[in-house]
Every structure is written in structure tokens, then in C-alpha cells.
């Protein structure tokens, strides 16, 4: 659906915008997770077929002509994986932040530039 596709792209870009402008480490990760959500919405939008339902054979969907009635199951499967991976990455990022804070008592990304050039 085009409206959800636009929404997904908008969230993706807002997420990037946050990563590029926010100084707070946690906000940067929030930006990352917003971008992630946007990506997932984009993926599901691409798998949607107009007027069709979930790819689960039950009372609503007949096993015989299921092919004509369901949306694409592959993007769903991909997004499932992507969501879990997103969580994993976010968790590791946050534990980095916790440790960084422990060492440096700062959440500003500007305070972590001792390595350069």
C-alpha cells in the first residue's frame, strides 16, 4: 500500500535525522530504532497485495484457492527476522552506552572523540 510505504520511508528518514542531529547517545539509538521500524513498515508494504488477507489457512481462507486470497508471506517472514535482529542490535548498543557512561559519566556523543585522525 503506497500510504504505508510513504509512512515507512518518512519514519526511516526521521530516524536518520535524529541520528544526525541528536547529541544524546540514547536518542541516537532511539533514532536508530525509529529508522528500523520505518524499514519494517516498508518491507511489509511491499508484500501487501490489494484486498487480500493473512496467509493463514483457517475459516476465512480456503485451502483450495488460497493462492488467490493471501498476501505475500515472504516479506512477513523477513520482517519477523529483522525485528528480532533489530532488538538484538539495540540491546547491544544500549549496553555499550551503559558501559560508556560508567567510564565517562557523559551521554553526549561529543565527549567521545579522543581517537581521531
Amino acid at each position: 500500500m503506497i500510504s504505508t510505504l510513504i509512512l515507512g520511508i518518512a519514519l526511516l528518514i526521521i530516524g536518520f535525522y535524529a541520528m544526525l542531529t541528536q547529541k544524546n547517545l540514547i536518542k541516537i539509538v532511539i533514532g536508530f530504532s525509529i529508522a528500523d521500524t520505518g524499514t519494517h513498515i516498508i518491507i511489509v508494504s511491499l508484500g501487501y497485495l490489494r484486498g487480500k488477507t493473512a496467509p493463514i489457512i483457517d475459516n476465512a481462507v480456503n485451502a483450495v484457492n488460497a493462492v488467490q486470497e493471501v498476501v505475500d508471506p515472504i516479506p512477513s517472514a523477513l520482517v519477523l527476522t529483522a525485528i528480532v535482529i533489530g532488538l538484538a542490535v539495540t540491546a547491544v548498543m544500549l549496553s555499550f552506552i551503559v558501559e560508556m557512561y560508567k567510564k565517562n559519566k557523559s551521554l553526549s556523543i561529543d565527549d567521545y572523540q579522543e581517537l581521531k585522525w
Partner: protein, 1041 residues
């Protein structure tokens, strides 16, 4: 055969269980851990063997009981097996390296490490795009977590930057994957091709490829990677630089078929830009690991470019280029990172401590040489073939960038190497023993570097064993290096004799024979002087033999590559010999930089050259039939003239001669410079029959003339005896170059005559000065004087030599001058002849200075007790003197064969009648000249004896004490700044303009490097911005619709 999917299975099963196993004791979990890593290596080794030797077809592994594209499939072919074998091997060795850490830290690090390696395996084998994403995440997350194996502020912030960058890249990768699916309905690489994407569909492959590309750290979107390289534990960094890069690079290789060619070209250029800029920025770097980081990033850029630009060449060449670059990077980078962990010094200048562990020092040198692309290591072959590919495809921008970038890399690597070997201001700290677990991987990779070199030579080329003899010489001598140096010296002498005996039948052409005499016999006589060495001189004879053998190999090389190989061996060995000098750090580096630049030009020149038609023996013989294109001749000529020290590119020469050990200098001056002459002569031979539109050799002739003049002037203003001789060599070789540039019979006869003459008298002079230095411990001429009384034998050598140099009768130099001026006049190069004549006048200045300030005048107080030079110095001097006398008395001994040599290419222009040489313009009878001159000298001498009055010894009138005592009395001596008045008269002309020019080139590249690296602000957010901007810019450049 065990399916490679068991790599994934074993790693996962053990990885999942490891935390339980660990409860039973770390020993057991470590056993399981190393067991799996070893299993991976063995399995891949087996598959690699099967692909290479049994030619089994590519293995396809389907999962879930369905065929692709229904299910995900894995593929293992030759390329995969090759990459994975080395990736797993590096993984195992890095784990061995980290053994102590793994023994102590939490079991988590083992799990992370194991799954990291598994991720790399999966990434390489999988054929499904989304599955790639999953494996990429496995690889990334485990790497992120492992960056804090050594937890500190630096590693944490570097790891965080890494995560953010990786997160951005993988977001784009995921988007690319699903867009690909949306447009094509498939995720399997087997079903996709570049044709699957049109118009808007191109966005999908753009996102996919740019994400992978970002992961490969392109300039300037790679600041995060540098921070990781700098801060993270060496063992883990080696994995990031080697295993991660290899796996992700392989992903790029796999998705390349999906990309339209415009994309690929842009990526290729971006790779080259990365290579060029990271190496340029490396110039300013003084942190060892960050420097290695710059180098890693550059190497990956080069590898990518090679991957893209070799897409259309034949597979064997492609394998060699990519495989060579890959192996070279993998082995030497991992090795160096491990060494960094052993040395534990951040700053490059503190690495001198490595000298306290000789084996590690050798390994360090090995990796540095390999990384710089010097033979025989893998990178050398790859670079050679790659340059050829680029020349054939006319990609000159890429070619230039590759060569300039390589030169930058060589500069910073060897600045490091020379400072490690030579840096004097260190404490006497001892490097702590690295322990078995840390040393083993480094040693294994050191061996791998050697083995892979020979593997490449064995599989891709058919070399005569003699071509690699220089290497074996080093190895052989290193085995007996504990013997006293005299024994090694005699053995070397015998080896050179044996070598000469072996190649003698191969020298079919008189020209080869002539240079054979200079290279082999000249070297052999010079070896005698080295017998004076008292200390053990470890390594010296190995490199000396390597150099002498490569001189000889130049003569018998039958292909461009063999010639170039010998040339490079010669450069390496001479560099290492120069480096032995006490204060030779700067000099040797300068020498290597200029030589390498020259070598690159030669490489390019040969790449332009048409293929050799016949396999008819040595290059020097078949080159006659080769029509070298103009660009090839120009480039080759510049390359050869760098080695012969022509004006403009000569600044390495005085320093190298002066700072080398005094028994090495004669080799460099008298013999090494002739290699450049030999190269130019080879060009000349090709030039005779196919004269191109532009008269290159006319200009080469001028360069020779100017070199002769500048060299003579510079020599006159030196205080250092060896520098004086060095500039004199430059000047003399200038004559040779000018003469051979005439491309006439007489020109060549005189050039060869002069070359031979120079070999003898310059060897003698350098050895004589070596003797003087040995006794006086100074090279400053104004600190000597009056040594005639103490060292009469050396005095006679110097006297005879300078007569031979200056070209006054009766010695051989006279003949040379007579020939050369005749040649110039018959050629019609009057102006050049005039300038040379002037240069000869100037050369009297420095020759007089040499003999006067050292041997004549007042003996210095501190030299009261010195003796004649040691006998080992005197013997070779007098052998050379005998030679000079012989050809002075009987010039036809040499003129006759030279006449024959030149007659192969030209009609003879001289006649030889008994003892007389007759040219168009006159005749010369050396024998007669000798008698006449002797008579002319004898008469006044006898008169003097007969009429001798009372000889009076003049006391020194010591002006110094007339007023006050100057701080350094020697500087008031006439010998100090002897020709100040000439210098004044010349005014600005004596400014070392060439030196200043090269200094500013160096400064500029450093400033540029310093400027560009400012993009790496250290701020993680800026790095994200770099990545996003990079993506946008690439999007615009590629013109995706």
C-alpha cells in the same frame, strides 16, 4: 567428504553448549573451542585441495530438503574454499594468539569468537540475499561485542561508533534486499543478474551494493573503522582486518553480477581513491595500529578495485591478481597486528625495542616487505599483473593512483622499518618474551608468506631456478650465519665464482659478456675488501650474494618479468646493504623510495611493451626485434635513469653512497649504477631499428651531459670524501649515459669503455677511502692530510685512479675522453661536447681536492700513529690498478671486443691497426702515449734528481695560534670549504634546487595527508554524516534514475 555445512553446525552446537561445558572447567571448553576452529580449517583445507587438484565441481548445499530458490542454498567453489581456508586459518591462529585472554576472561568471549568465525563462513557460502543479511548481523554483533575484549574508554567509544556505522549500513542492506525481492520476486543469487534491474529497480541494487561498500570502509566514510583499528585488542583487530574484511569483500564479489557496469566503474574508482587517500594520510601517522588501519583500509580499496577492473580478463590472471592481493593483505596485516600486540608500543618510534628479539625483527621485516608488494611475496605478482591489466585497458587514472598510493604505502612502511632497525635513541629495554601462544601464529604466517610466494611462482609462472637464486642465497647464508665473517666471505667468493661458471654459457652475446665481467668479476674483486670485516656481520653476505646474483640475472632474464624480478631483487638487497650503515636510516629510505618509483615506471614501461615474439634467449637479445612504443621508452628510460643517478632524480645517490658501510659503497657506485646503464642500453638496442617520431635519446643525451656537469660541480663542494666520490660517480655515469644516447657505434664503444673504466677506478677509489676511513674514523677531508707518509699504497691507488678519471695521459681515462669527444663530434653534438669538456675541467677541482686534502699537506697530530690500510683493502685496489694499467698500455684489449659488441648493432666506425685505434678524426695508440708520457715525466724527474739541491723541510707555520684559538681549528684549514670562491662566483647556481624540489614534494604530500585526515574528527555523529553523505553522493554520481 564432510559437507561444509558442518562448519555451521559444529560452531552453533558447540557455541550454544559452551556456557554449560564451561562449568566443567575452562580446559574442556577451550578444547571444544579450539577443536571446532581446527575442524573448520581442516575441512576447508580438504575442500581447497579437492578444488585445486581434483577439479571437483562447485558444491551446492540445499537446506530444508528443497532446491533453491525455494529454500536457502549454500555454495562452495574454488573461490569460496580459498577465501574460507585462509579466513578460518587466520581465525584459528588469532585464537591461538589470544589463548591467554581466552583462558582468563568469561566464556562469553569464546562463544562470540566462535560464532564470529561461523558468521564469516556462512556469509561467504550463502547464496541467498536475506540470509546474507542474517549472517552479516551474526558477524557484526559478535565483532561489536568483542571490540571490548579489553574494556576501556577508547574501545567502548570506538566500538559504539563501529556499531552505529554498521547499523546504518545494515539498514540499507536490508532495504536493498527487500527491494530486490519486490522487483524480481527472488532472493537467490542464482536467479538474479544485472538484467533483472531496470529504471527504478536500480535503486534496489544501489542500496544493496552501497551498504556492502560502506562496510568495506571507503574513504572518507571510514573514520569509525580507524578508531577500531587503533584501540581494540590486537588479536581481535587482526580478525576484523582479515576475516571480516574478507567475508564482506566476498559478499561484494558475489553481488557484483547484479550491478550494471556504470555502478561497478564508480565503485572501482571509489576503491582506488580509498587506496590513494588512506595511504597518503598514513604518511602523517605515528601510531602503529592506526597506521596499520590506514593500510588495511587502503588494501581493501585496492582489492575491490582489482576485483572490478579485472572482471573481463582471463581467469588465471584474475585469480592471481585478486588472490595475490588478498593473501598478501591477510598474511602481512594479521602478522603485523599480532606483532603490535607483542610489542605493546603505541608509537612507531618506540618500536626499536623489537631489536632485542631478532626472530621477531626478521618476521617484522618479512611482513613489511610483503605488504609493500616487493618480491617474492604475493603482492608483487598481483601488482605486476594488475598494472598490465590496467595498461591494456588504458585506465591511466587508476594506474597512476595505484602506483602513487603504493609508493605512499611503501614510504610509511619503510620509514617504520628503518626506524625500527636503526633508531638509536632507545633505552636498553628488553622486549618481554611473547610466549609460545603469541609467537606461534606470527611464525606460522611468516612461513605462509614464504610458502605462498613460492606457490605462486610454481603455479603461475615457469621460472628457471636461477631466477629465485637470490632468495636462496639469503636463506643459505642465514643458515650458516653463526660462522665467522671471514669464512662466510670466502664462501661467498666461491659462490660468486660458481654462479659465474654457471651463467657463463648462457651469455651468448658479447654485450652480456661485457656486463657479466663488470657485474660478476667486478663484484668478486670487491668482495675481497669485505674480508676485512671483524665482527660477525650477520646478514651481510646473504644480501650481498642476493645483489650479485640479481645483477647476473638481469643479464640472462628472458622475459620482462624475469628482468623486473631481478631488478627488484637488486633493489631490495642493495637497500638492505645500505641500511647497514651506521647512520643510514634516511639515506636508505631515500634510496628505496626513488628506486621503487623507478621500478614502478619500469613496470609500467614493460606493460606497454608488445609481447616478446620469440622465446629466443635473453631479453637483451630479443629486444632488438621488439618495437617499443614511445611511451614505453620514455617511462623505462626514466626508470633506468633513476637507478643510474641522473640529474633531477639523483638525490638518493650521494647519501646512499656516503652512509653505506665503506666496503658496500664500491658495489653501489661501481656496479649498481651500471645496472641502470645496462637498462638504457637495452632500450637503445630496441630504439636503433624502430626510431619513433620523437627523438627520446637526444634528450636522454642532454640529461647525461647535465648530470656530468652537475655531478662534477657538486663533487667539488663536498667535505665528505665519500660524498665527493658519490657525486663523481654521478658525473661519470652522466658521461656514459650521454655517450650511449648517441646511438652510434663510436658512442657505444666509448660508453662501454667508460663504464668499464669507471668500474675499476671507482672501486679502487672507494676501497682506498674505505681504508683511510678504517684508520682515521673520519670521512671529512679537512680532518685528514699528509697521509702519504702513513698510507703510501693507498696514495698510489688514489693518484693513479684520479689520473684515470681525469682523462690526462697516459692512463685509460685519456682513451675514454678521446673516444667520447670523437664520438660527439662525429655525431654533430658540438654543444654537448662543449659542456662535457667544461665538466671535465671541473672534475679536476674535486680530484685535486681529494688527493691534496687527504694525502698531501701536513699530517694531523692525531694521525701520527696510523698504519697502512689493511691488506684486504690493498689487494682489490691493486687488482684494479693492474687492470687500469693493462688497458692503458694495451687499449685494444678492450677496444677490440667493444668494437665487436657495437658492430652487432652498427657499422664499425673505427679501425684497429695493431696497437692503434683509428677513427674518422684521428688515431690513438695507447701504448705509444704511455711511453711518451713516461718519457715526458722521466726527463724532468731525472733532471731533478741530478740537479737536486738541498731539500728543506718546511715547518708548519701555524697561523691558528697567531690570534685567538678558533673553536674548531680544522675549519680554518685550506681544505675546509676549499672552493668557497667558486661557490661564491656561482652564486645562486649552487643552491641544491633538486633537493629543494623533492623536499617540497614530500612536504606537500604530508601536508595534504594531514589536511585530509582532518575529516576524521573522532565524533561518531560526524562519521554517520559521512556515511549518509557518501551514499547520497554515490547515488548522484552513479546517476541512478
Amino acid at each position: 567428504m564432510v559437507s561444509p555445512i558442518y562448519i555451521l553446525i559444529m560452531s552453533l552446537a558447540v557455541g550454544f553448549l559452551l556456557s554449560i561445558i564451561d562449568r566443567a572447567g575452562r580446559k574442556i571448553s577451550l578444547t571444544a573451542f579450539y577443536g571446532v576452529l581446527t575442524f573448520n580449517v581442516v575441512l576447508m583445507a580438504n575442500w581447497l585441495y579437492r578444488f585445486v587438484f581434483l577439479h571437483v565441481p562447485t558444491l551446492v548445499i540445499n537446506t530444508a530438503g528443497f532446491k533453491a530458490p525455494i529454500s536457502i542454498n549454500l555454495e562452495l567453489g574454488l573461490m569460496e574454499a580459498f577465501v574460507l581456508f585462509f579466513a578460518n586459518l587466520s581465525g584459528l591462529l588469532a585464537a591461538v594468539y589470544l589463548f591467554k585472554k581466552f583462558k582468563e576472561t568469561q566464556v562469553s568471549s569464546l562463544i562470540l569468537y566462535l560464532l564470529l568465525i561461523m558468521g564469516a563462513n556462512g556469509l561467504v557460502m550463502t547464496q541467498d540475499l536475506f540470509n546474507m543479511f542474517v549472517f552479516l548481523e551474526i558477524l557484526s554483533i559478535s565483532t561489536f561485542a568483542l571490540t571490548v575484549l579489553k574494556k576501556s574508554r577508547e574501545t567502548l567509544s570506538a566500538g559504539f561508533k563501529y556499531m552505529i556505522a554498521g547499523g546504518v549500513a545494515s539498514t540499507f542492506f536490508l532495504l536493498g534486499v527487500v527491494f530486490v525481492y519486490y522487483f524480481t520476486g527472488s532472493l537467490n543469487l542464482g536467479n538474479l543478474s544485472a538484467g533483472s534491474f531496470t529504471n527504478v529497480g536500480l535503486v534496489s541494487v544501489f542500496l544493496l551494493s552501497i551498504a556492502v561498500f560502506i562496510e568495506l570502509k571507503p574513504f572518507p566514510a571510514n573514520g569509525w573503522a580507524l578508531d577500531v583499528y587503533q584501540s581494540v585488542d590486537s588479536g581481535i583487530v587482526s580478525i576484523i582486518a582479515v576475516v571480516n574484511s574478507a567475508a564482506i569483500g566476498f559478499v561484494f564479489y558475489k553481488i557484483m553480477p547484479l550491478l550494471p557496469s556504470e555502478f561497478l566503474t564508480v565503485f572501482g574508482i571509489a576503491g582506488i581513491v580509498t587506496f590513494l587517500f588512506s595511504n597518503m594520510m598514513g604518511l602523517k601517522q605515528d601510531n602503529a595500529k592506526r597506521l596499520l588501519g590506514y593500510s588495511s583500509i587502503g588494501q581493501m580499496g585496492l582489492l575491490l578495485a582489482a576485483l572490478i577492473f579485472t572482471a573481463n580478463v582471463q581467469p588465471s590472471v584474475r585469480y592471481l591478481v585478486i588472490g595475490g592481493l588478498f593473501l598478501n593483505h591477510l598474511i602481512s596485516k594479521a602478522g603485523l597486528f599480532w606483532l603490535a600486540g607483542i610489542v605493546k608500543q603505541d608509537k612507531i618510534k618506540d618500536w626499536g625495542i623489537l631489536r632485542s628479539r631478532k626472530p621477531l625483527l626478521v618476521l617484522f621485516g618479512l611482513f613489511i616487505f610483503a605488504l609493500s608488494g616487493l618480491p617474492p611475496f604475493a603482492g608483487f605478482w598481483a601488482k605486476w599483473e594488475f598494472v598490465k591489466v590496467l595498461v591494456d585497458a588504458k585506465m591511466f587514472f587508476v594506474l597512476t593512483s595505484v602506483l602513487v598510493g603504493s609508493l605512499f604505502e611503501l614510504i610509511f612502511l619503510f620509514r617504520w622499518f628503518t626506524s625500527v632497525v636503526k633508531n638509536t635513541d632507545e633505552t636498553n629495554e628488553q622486549l618481554a618474551s611473547p610466549g609460545k601462544s603469541k609467537a606461534t601464529p606470527v611464525i606460522v604466517f611468516g612461513l605462509m608468506a614464504v610458502i605462498s610466494s613460492f606457490g605462486i611462482m610454481r603455479f603461475f609462472y615457469e621460472f628457471n631456478w636461477i631466477q629465485v637464486l637470490p632468495i636462496f642465497a639469503v636463506l643459505a647464508i642465514s643458515l650458516i650465519d653463526s660462522l665467522p665473517s671471514k669464512v662466510k666471505g670466502f664462501l661467498s667468493l666461491a659462490a660468486v665464482a660458481g654462479y659465474g661458471y654457471y651463467i657463463y654459457p648462457l651469455l651468448e652475446n658479447n654485450l652480456q659478456m661485457f656486463f657479466g665481467v663488470i657485474f660478476i668479476i667486478g663484484s668478486a674483486i670487491n668482495i675481497i675488501a669485505t674480508l676485512n670485516r671483524k665482527n660477525q656481520s650477520r646478514g651481510f653476505y646473504g644480501f650481498l650474494l642476493m645483489m650479485i646474483f640479481s645483477f647476473g640475472n638481469l643479464l640472462i632474464a628472458s622475459t620482462y618479468l624475469e628482468f623486473f624480478l631481478a631488478w627488484e631483487f637488486m633493489t631490495i638487497s642493495s637497500f638492505l646493504l645500505i641500511l647497514r650503515g651506521q647512520k643510514a636510516q634516511r639515506a636508505s629510505l631515500l634510496y628505496l623510495i626513488f628506486s621503487t618509483a623507478g621500478a614502478y615506471l619500469i613496470m609500467v614501461g614493460f606493460s606497454f611493451a608488445p609481447a616478446l615474439s620469440s622465446s629466443g634467449g635473453a631479453l637483451i637479445n630479443v629486444i632488438e626485434l621488439v618495437n617499443l612504443p614511445l611511451v614505453s621508452i620514455i617511462v623505462l628510460a626514466i626508470g633506468f635513469m633513476i637507478k643510474s643517478g641522473s640529474a633531477g632524480v639523483h638525490i638518493w645517490l650521494p647519501e646512499a653512497h656516503a652512509e653505506a658501510e665503506s666496503d658496500v659503497s664500491p658495489f653501489i657506485s661501481a656496479i649498481l649504477l651500471k645496472a641502470g646503464v645496462f637498462g638504457l642500453l637495452m632500450l637503445g638496442i630496441s630504439y636503433i631499428s624502430f626510431t619513433p617520431s620523437f627523438d627520446v635519446f637526444y634528450w636522454i643525451g642532454w640529461v647525461g651531459v647535465i648530470t656530468a656537469l652537475i655531478g662534477a660541480f657538486m663533487a667539488s663542494f663536498q667535505e665528505d670524501a665519500k660524498k665527493l666520490l658519490a657525486y663523481s660517480s654521478m658525473s661519470q655515469v652522466g658521461y656514459v649515459v650521454a655517450a650511449l644516447a648517441m646511438i652510434t657505434h663510436l658512442g657505444w664503444v666509448s660508453a662501454l669503455y667508460l663504464a668499464f673504466n669507471h668500474m675499476m677506478f671507482k672501486s679502487a677509489l672507494f676501497i682506498a677511502i674505505a681504508g683511510v676511513y678504517y684508520r682515521t674514523r673520519t670521512r671529512k677531508m679537512y680532518e685528514m692530510g699528509g697521509l702519504i707518509a702513513k698510507m703510501p699504497l693507498s696514495y698510489i691507488t688514489v693518484l693513479m685512479s684520479i689520473i684515470a678519471v681525469s682523462g690526462v695521459p697516459p692512463l685509460s681515462g685519456f682513451g675514454a675522453k678521446w673516444l667520447i669527444y670523437t664520438a660527439f663530434i662525429t655525431k654533430g653534438w658540438y654543444l654537448q661536447a662543449g659542456v662535457l669538456f667544461f665538466a671535465s675541467g671541473v672534475s679536476f677541482l674535486y680530484l685535486y681536492r681529494l688527493i691534496h686534502t687527504i694525502f698531501l699537506g701536513q699530517l694531523k697530530y692525531e694521525h701520527q700513529d696510523i698504519k697502512e690500510a689493511p691488506v684486504w683493502f690493498i689487494i682489490p685496489q691493486y687488482i684494479f690498478m693492474a687492470g687500469i694499467m693493462a688497458i692503458s698500455m694495451f687499449p685494444n684489449l678492450i677496444i677490440k671486443p667493444l668494437n665487436v659488441i657495437a658492430m652487432k648493432y652498427f657499422d664499425s666506425s673505427i679501425q684497429i691497426d695493431g696497437l692503434t685505434v683509428i677513427s674518422e678524426l684521428g688515431h690513438w695508440n695507447g701504448n705509444l702515449v704511455m711511453y711518451v708520457t713516461m718519457a715526458v715525466f722521466a726527463i724532468p724527474f731525472i733532471l731533478l734528481l741530478v740537479l737536486k739541491g738541498k731539500t728543506q723541510k718546511v715547518k708548519q707555520f701555524n697561523i691558528v695560534y697567531a690570534a685567538e684559538r678558533p673553536e674548531s681549528p680544522q675549519t680554518t684549514h685550506v681544505a675546509h670549504n676549499m672552493y668557497a670562491h667558486f661557490r661564491k662566483a656561482l652564486g645562486k647556481w649552487t643552491l641544491p634546487r633538486v633537493q629543494l624540489f623533492w623536499d617540497s614534494v614530500a612536504e606537500w604530500s604530508h601536508t595534504l595527508g594531514g589536511f585530509f585526515r582532518r575529516v576524521y574528527t573522532g565524533n561518531g555523529q560526524t562519521y554517520i554524516l559521512h556515511i549518509v553523505v557518501y551514499i547520497v553522493v554515490m547515488y548522484v554520481v552513479m546517476g541512478v534514475k
